[in-house]
């Protein structure tokens, strides 16, 4: 199992979500994140003085999938999150030891993404 953590632009999320849903990966989380990288910050002006804000708002996308599905998810993120400009973000892939569904207590690959009998809703 792999966890994919991607820091992306806000506007990239909706097309990524739609494609992942189409490909059978409805389970994901997003978090509002603030971070810095090569992209410069923002200067806020307030009554004649300025405040340099060094971190910019980004979205952190988290998806956990089977090893063999990892590439599909990464490709979907790359396809929609890349504008070619500085500030497109980064993707990290991490190993995951265990996944447990709280409602049933089942664990392992059964827990990940769509499986037989699961409901998909847009």
């Amino acid at each position: 199992m792999k966890k994919i953590e991607a820091f992306i632009r806000h506007e990239a999320f909706e097309p990524i979500r739609a494609e992942l849903l189409d490909r059978g990966f409805p389970s994901l989380s997003i978090l509002e994140a603030k971070g810095s990288g090569r992209q410069k910050g923002i200067v806020e002006h307030y009554r004649g003085s300025t405040l340099t804000v060094n971190v910019r708002p980004k979205l952190k996308l988290e998806v956990v999938v089977e090893d063999e599905d990892c590439q599909v998810v990464v490709e979907a993120i790359l396809r929609h999150a890349r504008t070619g400009e500085i500030g497109d973000g980064k993707i990290f892939v991490l190993p995951v030891e265990e996944a447990i569904r709280i409602r049933t207590g089942e664990s392992g690959h059964e827990v990940l993404q769509l499986h037989d009998g699961a409901e998909a809703s847009a």
């Binding site: 410069k40 910050g41 200067v43 804000v53 500085i86």
Partner: protein
């Protein structure tokens, strides 16, 4: 000095005290528009609403003083007035030497012009360039509103159509329809906010960030309206303003009830914004009839306006993006109010030469022909207002679009107008993480601001 003279003088002064009170109430409506529009915007576009109201109010004031008042009230011909420009002491306006009374009435006229201008921007929130406000405010305050006001109230074209004057007591058409038509012209050239319509063209909600602010705005507007309609008596004799104010309240109440009921029956929930739109629609609807109809007619006018606004907002949202419902609440309710005079105007209250309402032709002994004639005249006022305001507005906005541009780039729209147009946030703590305020950083870590590279103000992600 004789007692009669003194009484006449004191009466005139008392009248102007009432107009002054009313004038202040109408100026307060600027705060109403501000809160209403900010509440219907997202957090990232909150500060810009404040700057817009202040700058617009200021520009409109200067334009009205320099040019607008002269065109509206300066006598002249049927199209425009020709005296009273750069209003000053010892000046003759429309054949009369100016007095403190003239100044008071001039200021009251400005309050109406500024309300009309504030209505325009309801459709343009969250994406328009700030410069567009500045340019259009000059044209609107100097030319557009004054032309319409002159036609109806300044002795122009619409004050005598075959012997019948248009009856628009406080401006359902002159003020509200005018603002809404300007709003339509701006919207047609501006287009919807990003994300308002999906790939199939279906509308999506972009919820405003504060319904409490919307509510505050509605209530301030509602209170201001007592100055708007009540002050339009221009006098205190027989306390007629009391009748006008009661009509105003009845229609506003019926507007809330109409809109709330309509939206509840449609969706089984009382939508907060729609209830607010209902109040405004009821008030806009009664603005023209306020001084011409009996008390029983006022709730009917308000109720129709309230129901109308719900269906209009839903229908308009399918095609164009009007974030506050200005086209419905001010435009359609303004048309309804103007026509409602032709339906409900009481023989007891009508202007000299005017026909009474259709109601009194059908159920009373008034002439039906004269009633239809008056309804036609009211319709003509709607058409005239629409044609004049739309033509000049669309030309102005087209000019703005071709020169300084009408709409901000997509990246600035995404970032919000607060940071992109004004360089600051309306709600900084919603956007700037607490550590970035950099309190308590050791000297060695904190870089002096002067030597720090200046990042671009916004997203154009340069290197």
């Amino acid at each position: 000095m004789s007692l009669t003279q003194t009484v006449a003088e004191k009466t005139a002064e008392l009248n102007m005290v009432w107009v002054a009170v009313a004038c202040i109430l109408v100026f307060l409506m600027q705060a109403g528009f501000m809160f209403l529009e900010i509440g219907f915007s997202r957090q990232k576009n909150a500060g810009t609403g404040v700057a817009k109201i202040l700058v617009n109010f200021a520009i409109c004031t200067i334009a009205w003083w320099a040019v607008g008042y002269g065109i509206a009230e300066g006598g002249g011909n049927e199209i425009f007035g020709d005296s009273g420009f750069f209003f000053h002491f010892d000046q003759t306006v429309a054949g009369e030497l100016v007095t403190g009374e003239t100044a008071m009435l001039m200021l009251y006229g400005l309050a109406f012009c500024a309300v009309s201008l504030a209505i325009v921007w309801g459709t343009t929130l969250e994406r328009i360039k700030f410069g567009a406000y500045v340019v259009y405010a000059i044209v609107f305050g100097a030319v557009i509103y004054p032309l319409v006001a002159h036609a109806v109230w300044g002795g122009g074209l619409l004050s005598d159509i075959g012997g019948k004057p248009v009856m628009d007591f406080a401006g359902s058409s002159v003020v509200h329809l005018t603002g809404a038509v300007g709003a339509l012209a701006a919207l047609l050239l501006l287009g919807p906010r990003r994300g308002k319509y999906d790939a199939q063209g279906r509308p999506r909600a972009i919820p405003g960030h504060s319904m409490p602010l919307v509510g505050l705005g509605v209530i301030i507007l509602w209170i201001g309206w007592f100055g708007f309609n009540g002050g339009s008596t221009f006098e205190t004799s027989a306390s007629f303003f009391g009748e006008v104010m009661l009509n105003t309240q009845l229609a506003a109440a019926a507007g809330v009830i109409g809109a709330s009921l309509a939206v509840y029956l449609k969706g089984r929930a009382v939508d907060v914004g729609m209830a607010g739109n209902g109040a405004i629609a009821g008030l806009v609807g009664i603005t023209a009839p306020a001084g011409f109809v009996e008390y029983w007619a006022a709730p009917i006018i308000g109720l129709v306006a309230g129901v109308l606004v719900v269906f209009a907002v839903l229908a308009i949202d399918k095609k164009v993006d009007d974030p506050v419902g200005a086209l419905s609440a001010h435009g359609l309710a303004g048309i309804w109010g103007t026509l409602a005079v032709g339906i409900f105007a009481s023989p007891r209250l009508i202007s000299e030469g005017a026909g009474s309402g259709l109601w009194y032709g059908i159920f009373g002994d008034e002439s039906l022909g004269s009633a239809f004639g008056q309804l036609g005249v009211q319709g003509l006022a709607v058409l005239f207002t629409f044609a004049v305001v739309f033509a000049i507005s669309i030309a102005t906005f087209f000019g703005i679009k071709k020169t300084i541009g009408l709409r901000v780039p997509a990246a600035e729209e995404d970032a919000g107008l607060d940071i992109s147009s004004h360089g600051m946030y309306g709600y900084p703590e919603a956007f700037i993480p607490q550590p970035e305020y950099s309190t308590g950083l050791p000297e060695a870590v904190a870089r002096p601001a002067a030597s720090a590279p200046t990042p671009p103000r916004l997203a154009p992600e340069a290197g």
